[in-house]
Each structure stands twice: as C-alpha cells, then as structure tokens.
Symmetry: C2
Amino acid sequence: MPSERLTAAQALAEMDSGRLTSVDLVLACLDRIDAREPRVKAWLHLDRERALALAAERDLERAAGKIRGPLHGIPFGTKDVIDVADMPCTHNSPLHQDRVPVDDAACVQLLRTAGAIPLGKLDTVEFAAMGRLARSTNPHRAMHTPGGSSSGSGAAVGDLHVPLAFGTQTGGSVMRPASYCGTYAMKPTWSVVNREGAKMFAPSLDTIGWYARGVEDLRLVAEASGLPASDRPARPVSELRIALCHTPYRDTLRPGAEAALRRAADGLANAGATVEVHELPPTFDGLDTAKDTIMRGEGRAAFMPHLKTHGDGLHADLRSHAENRTGISPLALKAALDYAAHARTVFEGHYRGFDAVLSYGAVGEADEGLSSSGNSVMNSLWTLLHVPVIGVPAGDGPTGLPIGVQLIGFRFADAELLDVAAAVAPVIDPWHGKVRVPG
Amino acid sequence: MPSERLTAAQALAEMDSGRLTSVDLVLACLDRIDAREPRVKAWLHLDRERALALAAERDLERAAGKIRGPLHGIPFGTKDVIDVADMPCTHNSPLHQDRVPVDDAACVQLLRTAGAIPLGKLDTVEFAAMGRLARSTNPHRAMHTPGGSSSGSGAAVGDLHVPLAFGTQTGGSVMRPASYCGTYAMKPTWSVVNREGAKMFAPSLDTIGWYARGVEDLRLVAEASGLPASDRPARPVSELRIALCHTPYRDTLRPGAEAALRRAADGLANAGATVEVHELPPTFDGLDTAKDTIMRGEGRAAFMPHLKTHGDGLHADLRSHAENRTGISPLALKAALDYAAHARTVFEGHYRGFDAVLSYGAVGEADEGLSSSGNSVMNSLWTLLHVPVIGVPAGDGPTGLPIGVQLIGFRFADAELLDVAAAVAPVIDPWHGKVRVPG
C-alpha cells in the first residue's frame, strides 16, 4: 500500500519492522500533496526540507534503537492559528503575514518531543474565528466546503496528505470538518491539553483537537500529549451502554444526518450494545444561545489588541466582535457562563450509567460552495459542556459525501472515551479497516 | 518632585503641560533602578536603549500633537512570564534562558499601542507557579519577601522604579505582593484581559493583573486594555455600601492584618459609607481547597510539555505537578470545578445591594526571609470566584511594613469597582496623595 495511505499506527508498525522509513513516509505525503493540493488547497506553508531532515534524523535514531516517543517519525500538519517554531504563523490574517514564532505551541512541542515531524501549516478561517475563510475545498467534492474553522486540517487528513493534524475548536471547528471530510477527530476535555501558542478566541471554550484516520491514531496523539490513561479495562461493544441523543437542534438537520445516526445506532444494537434514546434535559435548550453569548462576550478580549493596534485594518467581522457591536451585556455574559457551568454538572448525572452519548456529527453533508464553512450547532453544545468528543465517520449522505457521528464522553475521562470509540468504530464506520482515497 | 515619584497620571499631566518629557521620565526611572536594584533585585532584564529610543519617539509625536493612547510615553515593567517582543522571556527557569519571543503578549501589545514603553522584565517565581523563587527583596526591608509570584513587579512599583507593571495571578500572585510592597494593584475579572503570550498555569484561574501607585493609574491600564467603561455615575464614599468580610481563613491572620482591615472599615464608616459585616456563606469554606485542587489538576497540562521535553531538567516541584504526584482524580477535579462555578453564582446574589466587599490584602506583613513568598489564602478565593479585585495600601503593620486591603467587586463590573476604589482610597490609604519612598 502506498505509505501515505497508512494510518500513523500502521506506519509505526512498518517502521518498526524495517519495511518503511520516515523519509519514505514524508516523501509519500509530499507526493500526495503535490498531486492534490492544487485542488484541495489545504496548506498555507510546507517545510519540505526541514521535514525531510527531521525524518532522516528520526530514521537514524530508530536504526540506533532510540525511539523518542509514541509518534517517532510520523509527520503531522498544524492549523495555522497554532505556532510551530520557525514556520510562518499567519492565522490566515493579512495582519500576520510576516509572523514567524520562535516557539512551538505546547501541543506541537508535545508531538515533536514524541518524535513526530511538523510538515507545515494548514489553512483556517481567520484567527479560527471569523473574517476570511480558508481557501481549502472538500477532498471529496471540490465545490463543497471542508467545514471550518479547521478547514485545511480536516481536508488534509481526509485527503491523505498527512496522517495527523491539529485543529482548534471553540464552537464546532474540529468536529464539523471531521464529519464533512470523512475523518476521525478528537476534541478532548476542556483544559487537559495546554493551549499556549494557539490563538485564543473564547477561553471558556477554546480547545485543541486533532484529526486522524482511526481511533488508534487519535489515541497516539492523546498519549503523546500526556493525557492520563484509563484505569478501567476496555470492553467490547456488546458490553457498552450508549445513550442516543438527538439534541435540541434536530430541526436544523438536512438530508442524511438522521439516517447516518440511525445506521450507527442500529449497528451498535445489532452488535449487542445497549442503545437507549436518552435526550438532554429540557433545560439544555439554551446551550447554543449560551455558547454564542460566551463566544461573543469573551471574544471581545481576544481581538481587542488587534482592534487597538490595527483599527480598520482588522476584518470588519472581527472588529464588530472586539467592539461588542452585538451588545452582549455583563449580565448576559454572566448568565450564560453560570448556565453553562450548571449544565456541565447536570450532564454528568443525567447520563450516569451510560458509557457514551451518540449524536450527529453535523447537520448534514458538507454545504455546497466555499462562502460558508457550515453550521456548528451539533458541535457547539458539547464544546460548551467541556466534555470529550470523538468524531467517527458513519457512511455517506444522499449525494455521496461523508457524514459522521459524534461520541460524547465525560469530563476528564478522555481515555475511557477512546476505548469506547475503538470498540464501536468497526461497527459504525463502513470504511473501517479500508482506505478511502478521494480523487 | 523627582519624576520617578510621579504616578502615571501625574506624569501624563506634566508631559501635557510641557514640563516633562518621556525621555526625562525614563531616565529618572533608570536612575532610581540603578540606585536601588542592587538591593531590590526586581529586574531580570532592562532594555535601556530601546526604552529611551521609544521615549524620544513618543516625545516627538507629542510635540507634533500625536497622542497614541492613554499611556503615551509612560514606561512600564513586565513580569518575566509575559512576552515582550525582542526581550528575553525566561520565566525565571533555567530551561528558558535563551528564549526571545518575536511578539508582545496581548496585554503588552495593548499598552504599547496606548503609547506606553516596555522598560524590561521583572523577576518571578519560576513559571509564576513554583520551583525557583525570585531573587527580589521587599523594598521596605531587604530581608523580607516582596511576595510572589509577581515578586519583581510588586517590588519595582513599590520602590518607584517604574509607575506601572504587569503581573499574573493564579492564586494570590498579584494581590499579595501589592499588600507586602505597599502598592495598588488590580486583578480584573477572569477572561476580560487576553492572556495570550503569558505563561499559563491553570486556565480556570490565570488572570493578568497590574500594579500602580494609585487608582487613577490602575484605571489608565484598564482603559488601555479596552475594558468597558462603567455606565453608572461614580458616587462619593458617603453613598457607598460596603460589605466587610473576614473570609473563612481568619485563623491564618498574623499581627497587623486585622487592625489594618478595621482601620479601613472604620475610616469608611467615619466618611459616611455604610459598612456592614456580611460574611461569605458557610458553603464557601472549601474555596481554598477547591482552588488548590483546580490549580494542581489543571496545572498538570501546563507543565506537561516541559516534563516530556526536559524530564529531570524540570524543577522537581513542577515535575511533581505535571506527574500529578498529589493524585488529583478526575472526580475531585470535576467536583472542585463545579463547586467553584456554583459559588460564583451564589456570590453575586449573596452580596447584591453592596457596592463592594472589603477584606484583608494578605494574612499580615511580608514574611521575613526569601525562602517563601508568603501565604495566598486571602487572595486565592477571589481568584477562584473570577471577581475583580483592587488592592489598596492600608497603613503599616506592627513592624512598620505595609499591609493592604482588598476591594472585591462583581464579575465584568471592573470599571464600577475602579470607581469604588477611587472613592475609598483617600480614606483607606494613609499615604494617599503623598509619595512613600523606600530606602
């Protein structure tokens, strides 16, 4: 199999057995990028030479028996709102075209320390917020969005440019592109991965997330990031109890999403899992509104330095945010924060006894056109609740584009959710164990 | 008056009237630093030449009628866990001696855009957390600590090295040095000042704060930082209703703190304010424990990159943190976060009708010796509650060292708290309107 089609875990096994070098893997990724990038437009910056030099170093080390960590020799991409030392970090903003940070962001440093190789920077909605959209296209159909704001990250992993990529999520910026691009993704519990060196938007919500082409790869990033391991044994599907949740936003669904969720739920039930419809409490209907209030209220500070420094040079959408033109009052912001905090507590009790919650990955297939990155309503509520989320591909929608589902866990039980996802992915994902090659 | 003794507001008035230049002010600050630094040891880095060059630019601009913002020509210091472009930022850690960031931290950028001049970097407890202590001494008595972790920031402003300085607070790291060094300080509401470019420790708690020698100066930094203005008219002391709160930690007090608080309360009552003892609800007794759990639980991620990259090169105290050696469980962390969130809601209702809460600035005078930066128990609870806090000097303790009090406000009502502080400071601070010159 061409090595760019391997998952990170598969590539590591090949390297362990001497059948693959990191240099070969990086070259294969670069070839795939060269072939596909004119259409997919995932990358804002590629550092071919340094990546190959690092790969050669990792290969020498491996030959000498020195393995740096769980991702030794694996290339990865980084959303361009996250710093990588000595690479430009533009935030896809005209205000930052010349910015070259000297440090890796914390999440990048963790992967680099684990032996992984930063390949380049991936296109993003400006500042992972609003303003300029990414130029990236959906790898499965170029006239459709890959989602956003981690547009390039979802597209690059979905298009086999690179086995792993970082994104960030404040609303639905990691999970929606995963659904649209047919990839796996993980948004861990809020605060368990250090966000230093990533552009912030709303500190109560901002979370580093990552893309991969399988649960095992998601776990490798979690391990490299120092997330605690589970102390409970993993269980087979047949022993899992899954809550099926349609969210308060079911009326926003478009064709295919309902069917994808139903297929996933039926598959799990057929595999012996206990699947029970268990909706969120009625008091959770305001989650999306609260998320919006917090994003706007906290986002004011995120773009204040840009507003004060650049004035009208700042994109009008971001300026409006920093100027609080929507008039979020202190009282409204406090109410939203307190409501969200209360909902976090209630969530834990409401789903006690379940191993995970299963819900839509997005409202439907990827939207046509590149003038919007899509609707985050199916993702934002979980971000607000701070719970870990894993996106799993769940087949195609009516037009043949991917649709995913989300598995939602409990705060700080990220490793447990990875175990659940590993058990259910073979049942949910029709491409499990196979490689979907766009183009 | 020697210009280093001027507050920022006074210096601005002098500059406006043509009696002072920014270059003169910076030179006066540097002279004071040269005279006192061998004893006070506040600074890790000074950029004399660039500061003077910037001051000359600001003077030229002022002469041409161009005022950049509310701090045009005012020098300030920055705690060395906060990035200033092109200055070393070491976090007082041997792991970062060579680090020179290319960007200003957001808070520094805001002040620079407002015309202020970064003078240098101030000593700090390692990573504003634990590990190496600052070498800084208390300007009022060199064998005593200035407090920490913003040790150099409190000492520099207290010793008239610079009118303004940034610190950071996760427990009591801004407010305790203010009390020990006899300065004013402000910790705004959590999240209203962008923390990008400052080392994080516990994201639920970390807050940028600042030191000054008067409330007017605190307000200038708030304005430069884009904090919303108050829409309520400021009121005189006689119209204020102040809650006197002794906290659940009164048994930790040392000589002088109780007397300082009583003097402040009596002064306010004599000035016509309504001062009523109104303690926190009994359910708040766990605030300090919850803060400790959150700091340890969230702090794990803060130092994970250092642990993975440097291993035993990381200070043992920080390593223990990243390795969660105190065994904070997911359940304990969740419980602490939910408890704190609930307490934030309760606080608002419990003190409704009051304009501010008045409490101790610290448990007493600055501790003797430099092997500890003191006890944060009187500050941490307010940090955890996310409320804005202003520290006001309140006279001296039994050995003649300063002791402060804290005024505590309500979330997102930072400007309103500044109004209260401006009204009460002349009553509380015996040095109000005078200059206390250590040494």
